[in-house]
């Protein structure tokens, strides 16, 4: 007997085996916002996932899928949470056709492992995601995670060509296929991507791929302020030799570079808090990379950059990983993270008026992707005095003002990470999105029993 008298059907338990059912004393590892599940399974086979969801549907048990657990803080507090389904062992490469530039994988494979496998055939999935050694393909698709080169290479939705999910009735269904061009039936892959597992548990995904770039390098350039760095980023991205990804990082966060990287990228004239660093990533053929680097560097020098450095392949890759992970590292102490998304042209305006909206909060760490209209604001634990009564309402007030500002610019704010006291006071997604009624009907139609990750998604789904 497991926790609270709940146990899986005998056939399912037999198939999962002793190591497929998490012992009660370890269930705490699966808690979300303090809610501990009654059971947790680590299936190895597809039929175990199908049976688990079928059983949960029959019993009305809420199932929460989980990959590498890198983004479990994202979303509202679970409305119900009975069974954790850890898919990290369901992680095979089912089909890899380098000559067709396609690959089909099980949902639990990590992005890092997939890239390693693809590299053996000279191909790559041109996506980054935070904590890629742990982040799984299922989790990346469910959350729509992306990285610094999103403006050039797109989002997970753009590379997905086929998907299989186990829906709320415990039936596996597919959409799309294994060819790079396909409009047979509705493109449900778009719907599942970013749906936080509320419409179906992703079990299998097929991607189109790119040839592995011959080279990936980076440029860094110091600027007196975030505003000037963003301005430079905007004009650089309009050049024919524009890098594929441009990020702006605030000076204080930049000081948090690990030692092995800070040696490469900064010397005496390193930026200090209040200043900013523009980081540009360039990939492709060697000669084209070299031109993008050298013309990009010249351009930045002529546009107020105080120090410009070119990083080699090893340094560039390391920096790409660091920027991608910024704000997501589990032990970084980042305790409040806001994602602000606006039309790209509004990025600098948003950054210039944000401080007023965020009055009452200390200065945040900032990573901006001006070409995509994305800004991440990060606060370290301890930067706010949480012993003071009402600290949560101060934060919620600031978030509310930031939301009003984002709305006025055609965007929105998502609270990606926050203490429970804050999450209890606000919808992390920012209330009802446009089309909420259609979204609710989709949820009701694909998960009639309401058992898939209830309560954590936008619009109360």
């Amino acid at each position: 007997m497991s926790r609270l008298g709940l146990s899986p059907p005998a056939t399912l338990a037999r198939s999962l085996g002793s190591d497929g059912v998490v012992p009660e004393e370890r269930l705490g590892n699966f808690s979300i916002d303090g809610v501990v599940p009654r059971l947790a399974f680590c299936p190895t086979y597809r039929h175990e996932i199908v049976e688990t969801v079928g059983w949960a549907a029959a019993e009305g048990l809420a199932v929460v899928p989980r990959g590498g657990g890198t983004q479990m803080e994202l979303g509202n507090v679970p409305a119900r949470y009975d069974v954790a389904l850890d898919l990290s062992r369901f992680n095979g490469v089912l089909d890899y056709q380098p000559a067709d530039l396609t690959a089909t994988v099980e949902a639990g494979i990590t992005l890092h492992e997939l890239q390693r496998h693809l590299a053996s055939g000279g191909k790559t999935l041109p996506l980054e995601a935070p904590l890629s050694s742990n982040a799984t393909i299922g989790g990346i698709l469910s959350t729509g995670a992306s990285g610094p080169m999103r403006a050039a290479y797109g989002l997970p939705r753009d590379w997905l060509i086929g998907i299989s999910v186990v829906g709320g009735s415990g039936t596996e269904t597919k959409s799309g296929g294994k060819v790079v061009k396909n409009v047979t039936g509705y493109d449900l892959g778009k719907l599942y991507t970013g749906s936080m597992g509320t419409l179906g548990i992703i079990v299998e995904a097929t991607f189109k791929l790119n040839p592995l770039p011959q080279r990936l390098q980076a440029l860094t350039a110091g600027f007196p302020s975030i505003a000037l760095a963003v301005e430079a980023a905007n004009s650089l991205s309009g050049q024919v030799y524009a890098p594929q990804g441009i990020q702006v990082v605030d000076g204080a966060s930049w000081l948090g570079l690990p030692a092995d990287l800070s040696d490469v990228v900064s010397e005496k004239d390193e930026p200090v808090p209040g200043q900013a660093v523009l980081v540009a990533f360039v990939s492709g053929r060697v000669r084209a990379v070299e031109r993008r680097l050298s013309e990009g560097a010249d351009f930045l020098r002529m546009n107020e950059a105080s120090s410009v450095r070119k990083l080699d392949e090893a340094g560039g890759r390391k920096l790409l990983g660091w920027v991608t992970d910024l704000g997501w590292e589990r032990d970084s102490g980042h305790w409040l993270v806001l994602k602000l998304a606006v039309p790209p042209s509004m990025t600098s305006q948003a950054l210039s008026v944000l401080p007023r909206a965020l009055e009452g909060l200390p200065e945040p760490g900032t990573v901006a992707d001006p070409g995509f209209g994305l800004v991440r604001l990060m606060w370290q634990q301890g930067s706010l005095d949480t012993t003071v009564d009402g600290h949560a309402s101060v934060i919620v007030g600031a978030v509310g003002r930031a939301r009003a500002l984002a709305r006025s610019l055609g965007g929105y704010v998502v609270v990606e990470r926050a203490p429970l006291t804050v999450k209890r006071l606000t919808d992390v997604w920012g209330g009802e999105p446009a089309g909420a009624e259609i979204m609710r009907r989709i949820k009701e139609n694909l998960d009639p029993a309401g058992i898939l990750n209830p309560g954590r998604f936008s619009g109360g789904i």
Partner: protein, 506 residues
């Protein structure tokens, strides 16, 4: 035939006329209600923008496919508000609705359901905004694909998806079908370029999906809407992403003695780690058709022509160009040509772009089948297609997107021959089965529509289609938008063979 007789009858006997006009709507409305309904439509869009006389409706009976269906009425609104009111009215009266852009679709997507109202967007054709800072353009659904592309060139941008019908097809139709085109190999299809839409739902309510921000909260409704073939809603305002024009463009043409060696070249190019901007193939029969109408200077014995386009920085185009040329020469071509100047490149592309039109020099009709195979299986799939051609004694011309394995076998026939239409439909289904058996797809860019709905079970289980229908029911709970498309229901609109008017291609 019977329908045509009635048509001519009605044309001359005017007192029959009103009864005939209304009988199109009879399937959904009683005669008195039909008259009132037409009056209400006229009150919304204006008398001159409601068509219901048979001779006016006839041109709305077909699209680029082999299916036909006469609408009950056609309305041509000018604004979202008019569309909204028309749809609310149809919803109230239980009349099904289908949107129509330019009617170039190849799967019957714009064919009206029986007794249905067709909303034509030919008057909603304004480019509303080009926003260079956000790299977007906002357009009405009737804007022609190429008009948008040409318009944004002035600002140094392009709209990447370029269906072969881009001179005529509309953005609204492109969204409905998730249209592709030669350059989708490198840049993705319509779905990768649509950011936001204003959509009217079946009950006439208006909802915005997506936006100028690159991601929006909640489910990706604009993503699943794109390619929903007009069954979820009708887009009345569309915001698309623009891409900067490339610094350098270079086009390569390889002439090969046969299709097999051209396929080998395709694999060689992709195998070199090259994804060109476009990689197209034209087979011998298509070459002959093109040569009938214009001299492209192709060698007489050309068995297949490959067109490859590279875009990017000067350095990339030069470096990759050397590899492309090498890959072409490895595969035994009889001729390789390159072009960098726009006018020279256009000359190389002329054969590809003019091929479908030129097929008219070989046969009165063609049935263009859209199927996808993994690109490494092109050789065997094309051999199977050739075998089908022989078995059915149907000439098949191939003009297609080789780089992404998207085949377009064109089955040539004469609709006036008894049984010809039935035979090519059967042969077309066999071609699609060959694609599916090779691990491919039923349609790469034309949609399922009426044409392929009965073949859906070849790729999807009942459960797969049930999930899709549930999503449709979430947008359109009463299934009033373009009903009878996409999913198998045992019905078909294939009309009886008739004498086509001169110049009428199906």
């Amino acid at each position: 035939m019977a329908r045509l007789l009635v048509y001519y009858h009605a044309k001359f006997l005017s007192y029959f006329r009103r009864a005939w006009e209304w009988c199109f709507l009879v399937s959904s409305l009683a005669p008195g209600a039909a008259a009132r309904f037409l009056d209400e439509l006229k009150a919304i869009v204006g008398e001159e923008y409601v068509y219901y006389h048979p001779e006016d409706l006839l041109v709305y009976e077909y699209d680029g496919s082999i299916d036909r269906g006469l609408p009950g009425a056609v309305v041509l609104p000018i604004s979202t508000d008019e569309v909204r009111r028309v749809m609310a009215l149809c919803y109230r009266e239980g009349v099904p609705v289908v949107g129509r852009g330019s009617g170039t679709g190849l799967s019957g997507g714009a064919i009206a359901p029986p007794g249905g109202v067709q909303i034509s967007f030919s008057r909603m054709d304004r480019i509303l905004e080009v926003d260079t800072e956000n790299r977007t353009a906002t357009v009405e659904p009737g804007v022609i694909n190429l008009d948008l592309d040409n318009h944004v060139h002035k600002f140094g941008y392009r709209y990447a998806p370029d269906p072969s019908s881009q001179k005529a097809c509309s953005l609204g139709g492109n969204i409905a079908e998730n249209s592709g085109g030669p350059h989708c190999l490198a840049y993705g299809c319509t779905t990768n370029h649509v950011l936001g839409m204003e959509v009217v739902l079946e009950d006439g309510s208006v909802v915005n999906l997506g936006g100028t921000a690159r991601e929006t909260p909640g489910y990706d409704l604009r993503g699943v809407f794109t390619g929903s073939e007009g069954t979820f809603g009708i887009a009345t305002c569309i915001t698309v992403r623009l891409l900067p024009l490339p610094e350098a463009v270079k086009t390569f043409m390889g002439v090969f003695p046969d299709v097999d060696s051209a396929c080998t070249a395709v694999s060689a190019v992709i195998g070199h780690g090259i994804v060109p901007a476009a990689l197209e193939m034209i087979d011998a029969l298509s070459i002959r058709a093109v040569q009938n109408v214009m001299d492209l200077g192709y060698p007489e014995d050309a068995g297949a022509v490959l067109l490859i386009e590279l875009e990017g920085l000067q350095e990339e185009v030069e470096e990759i160009g050397i590899e492309v040329e090498a890959a072409l020469w490895e595969s035994g071509p009889t001729l390789v040509r390159t072009a960098e100047e726009a006018s020279d490149r256009e000359r190389l592309w002329a054969g590809r772009k003019g091929a479908l039109g030129a097929l008219g020099s070989l046969a009165p009709n063609y049935y263009l089948v859209d199927g996808v195979a993994p690109r490494t299986k092109l050789t065997e799939v094309l051999r199977e297609v050739a075998a089908i051609s022989e078995r059915y004694s149907i000439p098949i011309a191939n003009v297609f997107h080789a780089g992404d394995g998207n085949l377009h076998p064109c089955l040539l026939f004469d609709e006036r021959q008894p049984g010809a239409l039935e035979t090519i439909i059967e042969a077309g289904a066999e071609v699609m089965k060959v694609c599916i058996d090779a691990g491919g797809a039923l349609t790469g860019e034309h949609g399922v529509g009426l044409e392929k709905k009965e073949l859906m079970p070849l790729v999807y289980t009942d459960e797969d289609m049930d999930a899709m229908r549930r999503v449709r029911d979430s947008f359109a709970p009463h299934n009033r938008l373009n009903p009878g498309k996409i999913f198998p229901d045992g019905t078909h609109y294939h009309p009886p063979a008739r004498r086509p008017e001169p110049g009428l291609s199906i």
